[in-house]
Symmetry: C2
Amino acid sequence: MAVSGAPASGEDALIARYFKPLATDPGAFGLSDDAAVLKALGEDIVVTTDALVEGVHFFADDPAYTIAQKALRVNLSDLAAKGADPAGFVLSVALRKVDEAWLSDFARGLGADAIAFNCPLLGGDTVSTPGPLMVSITAFGRVGPGQMVHRSGAKPGDHVVVTGTIGDAALGLDILKRGRVADALAGDAASRDALVGRYRVPQPRNALAPLIRAHAHAAMDVSDGLAGDLAKLCAVSGVSAVIDLKSIPLSNAAGKALSAGAAGMREIVSGGDDYEVLCTVDPGALDEFIQAARLAAVVVSPIGTVIAGQSAPKWLDVEGKELPLTRTSYSHF
Amino acid sequence: MAVSGAPASGEDALIARYFKPLATDPGAFGLSDDAAVLKALGEDIVVTTDALVEGVHFFADDPAYTIAQKALRVNLSDLAAKGADPAGFVLSVALRKVDEAWLSDFARGLGADAIAFNCPLLGGDTVSTPGPLMVSITAFGRVGPGQMVHRSGAKPGDHVVVTGTIGDAALGLDILKRGRVADALAGDAASRDALVGRYRVPQPRNALAPLIRAHAHAAMDVSDGLAGDLAKLCAVSGVSAVIDLKSIPLSNAAGKALSAGAAGMREIVSGGDDYEVLCTVDPGALDEFIQAARLAAVVVSPIGTVIAGQSAPKWLDVEGKELPLTRTSYSHF
């Protein structure tokens, strides 16, 4: 992505108008070059990439502003879970046509979040496609050498902890698909909006990155469903876990959908798009982690315990009965 | 992109089978985590991103092996022009379906080039799409602090220099579209293959990166057409240029197409997909640059001179007559 000073092509004009104003970092060179520079004074650069496809990760009629936010935030969520401080991102966007109103909204959403999360646009590529719109972002973070928090590292005895609330985005998706949750909350616009908002605009927990670095033995972000993601974390760490279903933090809106019987805990823990942090914390550090997170205005909730073993994590109800999970997470294929 | 040790989803299995073997760099963590780590001991990390869309940047029936090569090489070409040594890349790929034979070929092409260019796979994202296949790569390079070579920096008196030969890929594309070049070279399979090969598999000039750092005042890669790209470089540098059309290096196959009247210099200098380096070099350094490039097995050719002024570069034929260019480069919109 580069703005030329030469007679502007359509692509160059588009980049100059919508994306150049976002490229405030000196390493972006005002998008006037072929590449960006990320300075590093001995820190590790943490790199993550996530792509969103229209009709798969968002709806064609979702607001362009929130599509941009989601595209950046799913990447910011990875950085948060790895304990990395945002350093910037590059963007590839494939467009069917140039819709100035859409692009203007998209750039505003992207710009607002770049500022909010201190993660500037460094560069990108704008291409045409005959197919669905696609946004691919690669984001960069910084940590001290060797300080990235891994999926591996969970130890028997650790508390399993999640940030925020779980399941909202999956219920929001059900509403957008006019499913059972939409019916159950038909008279409750505020709850519907809250859940749809969680699907469209993840709330990545970057404020917690320093605490995750300091306190988590293992961490990942919950993107494909809590149950599947915990199973992955445990498998890579060579441990298992027991989860207490009633400890899983639910929003008020999710609570209403459950009370109405429109969804069960199975959907809550296997739905995707939470973009919360799942981590394991030493018992001796739990109180400090919870208190410090509260100061950062993020609720964190212990939901179970890491145990030795290779079996899949167990999800227990109040009576100690196991919730059978056949499908634990989203897979594209 | 992460391989889980948990019961494999389709996506995880696909990543484990095809992409994990490529993730040989310690910073990729065997694709078992949510992010990669790029170590930097004070160097600048140069970042570039380019996306390819089926039907736009390559044909649906192009070999998967060469699609992968092109996707990586268009990024490697940017690193070469910036004087950066490859450090690794992340990949986003959007697939309509899982075609094991296609994926196997794609991964083989990617893996071969990752080794050939010393640019390991660090991570990625694999998603489904209902539309055209899309491959988006973000590549990283290293240079000493402040050593990236910019588009700006060209000085009056500099030689304008290009690597390799110009126009081949555009002629190759014409052949794939069964245009006039295909007819003109109907009896010459070797020439057709050479030109199509240049369209499908760029030859990025990474071997020259140290020389470009050492000798070029300004550089960029030629991706959208030499004429348009030179105009961009000149505009950003605040200079103009005079180019001698007969000095533009042509391959034997391109020479045949021109002799047959199937294409003219206008198509040669405004066609895209060359992925050669365009740079400007101080007159005092030209001989050393040419000699050193020869040792690196790359032919570099001076094609003109940077002059003061703001006007568009002039393209002069043997009689000193200017070649009028209405369309100087490819634009997506």
